[in-house]
């Protein structure tokens, strides 16, 4: 017999330890650097007038009251507005793309087309915003072209339209990816049956295609909304002072000239709660397959 009783018992020791060896290191890491910090943010948001490292002040909701002052509330509402418009733009621009790639494009090109469409998603978001700066700034590419054509120049840089362009550009691939995975599973026989029964293409689309794609649409809308509401880079680099958002305010409360960690934490807690709400909706209404993206 190759195995002595001793090695057998050490083996079972190892076997008993194995689940812990596999699951504890990563679990501990996530607990220490994701769960605990997030809980700390909630705790800190209840401590007014906090300075770094000073956690003993009595709790109150003062930081949250600061958020509901009109000037801050306006910034939060603007962030939500920008995110909603971005999401709608992504849906309108992205749906025909996903529809064409999933249902009309030649089968063997589908994966390649999708990969090519989402590839820019993996490039640096800073550099993508920078590219839009060089297009949209007053002496940029767009205005140079407009001037050569003797057309009036556009001044969108550091304005809301620039932010919307940058954000839509950033998040369109997410929308297309998720809509594609939903449309690809569409039961084509239903489309054909509806057409055979004489339904005009518009009715087929509205009554057969859209209802089947609805979970995918919900997943895409929620994911783009979450990304948009937390986006710092596009509003910061393309927006100028006029398009202050919650994410920019949050950044400033920690790394800006006049830090206020308590109010920053309250703002962050609010952001996390908003995102959690969206995630709950995502799990409830969203396409289950889309969640793996």
């Amino acid at each position: 017999m190759p195995s002595s009783p001793i090695s057998n018992s050490s083996q079972s020791w190892f076997q008993r330890l194995e689940p812990f060896l596999m699951l504890v290191p990563a679990g501990l890491w996530l607990f220490l650097l994701l769960i605990l910090p997030t809980l700390l943010i909630f705790q800190l948001s209840l401590v007014p007038g906090i300075k770094p490292g000073d956690l003993v002040n009595p709790s109150s909701l003062e930081n949250y009251f600061k958020i509901f002052e009109p000037s801050v509330l306006w910034i939060i509402l603007r962030s939500i507005g920008i995110s909603i418009v971005t999401t709608l733009l992504c849906l309108i621009l992205g749906f025909p793309v996903a529809y064409w790639i999933a249902l009309l494009a030649p089968k063997r090109w589908q994966n390649l087309l999708l990969l090519a469409f989402v590839l820019p998603l993996w490039t640096s978001s800073l550099l993508r915003a920078y590219a839009w700066i060089s297009i949209l700034r007053p002496t940029g590419v767009l205005n140079t072209i407009l001037m050569t054509l003797h057309l009036p120049t556009l001044d969108v840089m550091n304005q809301l339209p620039a932010v919307l362009i940058g954000m839509t550009y950033s998040f369109l691939p997410y929308m297309v990816l998720i809509l594609y995975s939903s449309l690809e599973k569409l039961d084509r026989r239903l489309l054909e049956a509806a057409a055979d029964l004489g339904a005009p293409p518009k009715d087929v689309f509205m009554n057969v295609t859209v209802p089947q794609a609805l979970p995918g649409i919900a997943a895409g809308v929620l994911l783009v909304f979450i990304n948009a509401i937390g986006d710092f880079i596009n509003p910061e680099l393309l927006g100028g002072p006029s398009s202050m958002t919650a994410a920019r305010l949050l950044y400033g409360k920690f790394l800006g000239a006049s830090p206020d960690w308590g109010m920053g934490s309250a703002l962050s807690a609010l952001l996390i709660m908003l995102v959690t709400l969206a995630i709950v909706c995502l799990i409830k209404y969203g396409d289950k397959n889309a969640r793996s993206i």
Partner: protein
């Protein structure tokens, strides 16, 4: 016959005729690649300031490869990315295998927590990590960036590995154990070789994300540490030089190639598997 003809025409209307979607898709491809094309175009422009074309030149590329600050920040970024991806590769693979093997209380919560960094905004993670590090009075350094990057790198690695495990034949491992292999041997000799493509493609994606991260790094970096995205950010804020165009082209091409490589490795292993099944 007339009826069947009438039946056929609307069908072809729906599946093949409306081609405006194809044109629209082409337009959107243009939208996705236009900014990148603009950067590439102007990176070869002689002139520094205007958007006008004044002649072809490689000087911006030459400048970028001789820019000390850029090269130093590139080396900081590489240290962070390699460090965090290595840790995530090890722990992420173990975790994905563990989650596939064992059923325990809280397993679903564990699994979903791993993927959270892919969904929640970077800025929330960045802020929370900073507050935590301040609370335990850990001085910020290169190590704190690595530690916080591991959090999202774990998500990419374990997502790739879990997807792969689900598509594998678990009987192979059982067969190995029936033939006398210990669970560890069957893991090392049977499961792990089948997981390598997924581990590598997950690591490549995590690497790209770590190299691109601006927010988390700028909240967790100690003094004197300057990652490449932090350097790029400060250059965009202060002065817009075509230096940045050349740098962008190189970086965008590099991330694109790495992601394509990751996708290629993943596809190859899937194709091999389906061939061996036939």
């Amino acid at each position: 016959m007339v009826i069947s003809k009438a039946n056929l025409s609307p069908r072809s209307n729906i599946i093949t005729k409306p081609l405006w979607q194809a044109w629209w898709t082409l337009l959107m491809f243009g939208f996705m690649y236009l900014p990148i094309a603009v950067l590439a175009f102007y990176s070869f422009n002689e002139s520094a300031l205007s958007a006008q074309w004044t002649g072809f030149s490689f000087k911006w590329y030459y400048r970028f490869f001789h820019d000390e600050r850029i090269l130093e920040s590139l080396s900081d970024s590489l240290k962070v990315a390699l460090g965090s991806v290595t840790i995530a590769a090890l722990f992420g693979t173990l975790m994905a295998v563990g989650l596939a093997r064992y059923r325990f209380w809280g397993r679903d919560v564990y699994q979903n927590t791993v993927y959270l960094p892919l969904i929640i905004p970077d800025i929330s993670i960045a802020v929370a990590t900073l507050v935590f590090l301040a609370a335990i009075t850990l001085p910020l350094s290169l190590a704190t960036i690595i530690a916080s990057h591991v959090v999202f790198c774990l998500a990419y690695v374990s997502l790739a590995v879990s997807t792969r495990i689900n598509s594998l034949d678990s009987h192979l491992e059982e067969a190995a154990q029936d033939l006398g292999a210990t669970p560890f041997e069957s893991f090392r000799l049977v499961l792990l070789p089948q997981l390598y493509p997924a581990i590598i493609s997950g690591c490549l994606l995590a690497f790209v994300c770590s190299m691109d991260d601006f927010l988390i790094a700028s909240f967790t970096a100690g003094g004197g540490i300057n990652t490449l995205p932090m350097e790029i950010y400060s250059r965009i804020r202060t002065n817009l030089t075509p230096d940045l165009n050349a740098l962008s082209v190189v970086l965008i091409a590099a991330s694109g190639l790495v992601v394509l490589l990751a996708e290629f490795i993943r596809r190859q292993s899937e194709a091999k598997r389906s061939r061996s099944l036939v």
